[in-house]
């Protein structure tokens, strides 16, 4: 679509930009609160953009078109329902910030709310999910660079992982959130430009009639599998956002009054993106484009209607959607391991310099591990992504009831996550990927509610605020680097 030379120039320019911005913003990260949580004072603009950009992953820009091509209009709508993850997390973000003003991770919440056994299971699920997501991003990066610019898969994947690791190391969450703002603007502007260009080239009437004649299935209003995918995707999205430290760290990082507004705005900004991306895919037939690989339909259509400029825009959009998620995953998964495993389990008296070193080591370690797994180019994007679905779906109820319901208890949470994950995985293999999160969340709900009813707890919310309970390690973390 574009020459390898142009691809290298684009890749180089964007890489240098992100690293320089990472260094610039990284100067603010003088304490662990700064490095891990951007000083806990992030405003509405950056808060909204970081939530929105992080949720626009390469899966949104590659899988949403694939959904549209395979499941039609319902596929676009199904992917859009992932916005409810952000919208419904908005009130939770406010509550998290008020209940845990000194909290660091989602693991902190589970440990304080449900105890050690549930915490360990939660960490296994959360780290597995985070790593799975990271791998799917790394793979997508390599595939895209190869498809758009002819850059070899291994080289493209390595550069993307290396650049994101670089600026996350320099600037922590300051760099992640700052770059997310610019990346969100590039993503949204790019999608609008390609969408409008497509509409100028082929009118909606032609697209509709072409689909009605050639692929009527895609316009069918009653498609049981596709309708199931709507609920599955909604619950998968909810599970992803509710449990993942990617979103919790942002809730801790935003100002108290900002979290709820930022997540709400981000949800509404994200909602139309899969529809626009899906529409671009649905026009491929009317434009006479031969789609050999469904997840590459976006770049193909853009290049067809806008020529080289279209391919350049798509390259930038994909790079930004990848970077905005990879950096967040590296930062938040590293936070989870540093805070929940190293500081809580291995070295509770660790000082700031030690924590920063460990955090940096974990970021590099995660990137290297992801690189090794990505290298052989295993599986498809959907397979990798949806495998984690039932597990994250089973965390929705333990997290939500744990934040609002005093009666929710540890037994319910642990059995809910276990039973939900196992039932969801069984559904994944026996029924199909589009039922896995649905089954995982439903089984977990029944278990959590039943345990809360039969063995009610009476949780004291003040226990979630570790700072007020004189935790020595917590006090140590308020010091700056020396």
């Amino acid at each position: 679509m574009i020459s390898q030379e142009t691809g290298w120039i684009l890749l180089g320019a964007l890489s240098v930009l992100w690293i320089l911005l990472g260094i610039y913003w990284g100067r603010k990260a003088k304490s662990m609160d700064g490095f891990m949580l951007a000083g806990r004072n992030v405003g509405l603009a950056f808060g909204t953009a970081t939530a929105m950009a992080t949720w626009v992953t390469s899966n949104t820009t590659m899988l949403a078109p694939q959904f549209a091509l395979e499941l039609g209009v319902w596929g676009m709508l199904a992917y859009s329902t992932a916005a409810f993850g952000l919208l419904l997390f908005a009130p939770l973000a406010k509550r998290i910030r008020s209940l845990m003003p000194g909290g660091y991770t989602s693991g902190d919440f589970i440990r304080l709310r449900y105890g050690k056994a549930t915490w360990i299971l939660f960490l296994v699920i959360s780290i597995f999910y985070g790593f799975t997501w990271l791998i799917s991003m790394g793979m997508a990066g390599g595939i895209l660079m190869n498809a758009i610019a002819g850059i070899p898969y291994a080289t493209g994947m390595t550069i993307i992982l290396a650049v994101c690791t670089g600026y996350t190391l320099f600037g922590g969450l300051y760099a992640v959130i700052g770059t997310d703002y610019i990346q969100s603007l590039i993503i949204m502007a790019g999608i609008v430009v390609v969408g409008i260009a497509v509409m100028n080239k082929v009118d909606l009437d032609t697209v509709y009639n072409h689909l009605r004649t050639d692929k009527p299935m895609l316009l069918k209003a009653l498609q049981p599998a596709a309708m199931m995918a709507v609920f599955n995707n909604l619950l998968f999205g909810l599970g992803e956002v509710f449990h993942s430290n990617v979103w919790w760290s942002r809730a801790f990082a935003m100002r108290g009054e900002v979290g709820k507004k930022a997540y709400t705005l981000a949800g509404f900004a994200w909602l139309p993106i899969p529809v626009a991306a899906g529409f671009i895919a649905l026009t491929s037939g009317a434009l006479g484009i031969n789609v050999t690989s469904p997840d590459m339909v976006g770049p193909l259509v853009a290049a067809n209607v806008l020529g080289k400029a279209g391919a350049v825009i798509v390259f930038a959009v994909f790079f930004c959607s990848l970077a905005s998620s990879v950096d967040s995953l590296l930062a938040s998964t590293s936070d989870l391991i540093t805070e929940d495993i190293y500081r809580k389990m291995i070295n509770p008296s660790a000082n700031q310099q030690q924590l920063r070193k460990v955090s940096a080591g974990i970021i590099i370690g995660l990137a290297v591990l992801a690189w090794l797994v990505c290298l052989p180019r295993i599986g498809t994007l959907a397979t990798v992504l949806f495998f984690a679905g039932p597990m994250v779906g089973s965390t929705i109820w333990p997290v939500a009831t744990g934040l609002y319901w005093k009666k929710a208890n540890a037994k319910g949470a642990i059995w809910g996550m276990l039973a939900g994950s196992l039932a969801g995985l069984a559904a994944y293999f026996e029924l199909g990927w589009y039922t896995a999160s649905l089954v995982g969340a439903a089984v977990s709900m029944v278990v959590v509610v039943a345990f809360s009813y039969f063995f009610p707890d009476n949780f004291d919310w003040r226990r979630l605020d570790e700072k007020h309970h004189g935790d020595a390690a917590q006090k140590a973390s308020s010091h700056v680097f020396h």
């Binding site: 603009a45 209009v73 703002y181 502007a189 509409m199 069918k220 626009a276």
Partner: protein
């Protein structure tokens, strides 16, 4: 069971998303994304003015 083609025309049309529905959805999506870009820029200016960026 009746096949789709054997059904009366009106019932058959109701089984598919209409052209107007699809058009509104797509144009609406592009308008919403454009508004989101403007809102993000406006929020940035407001946060810079009020010194509430970070």
């Amino acid at each position: 069971m009746k096949s789709i083609t054997a059904m009366p025309h009106k019932k058959q049309a109701a089984m598919y998303f209409t052209e107007s529905f699809v058009s509104v959805m797509i144009i609406g999506a592009l308008i919403l994304i454009s508004i989101a870009v403007i809102v993000l820029l406006a929020l940035l200016i407001t946060d810079i003015k009020n010194k509430k960026l970070w």
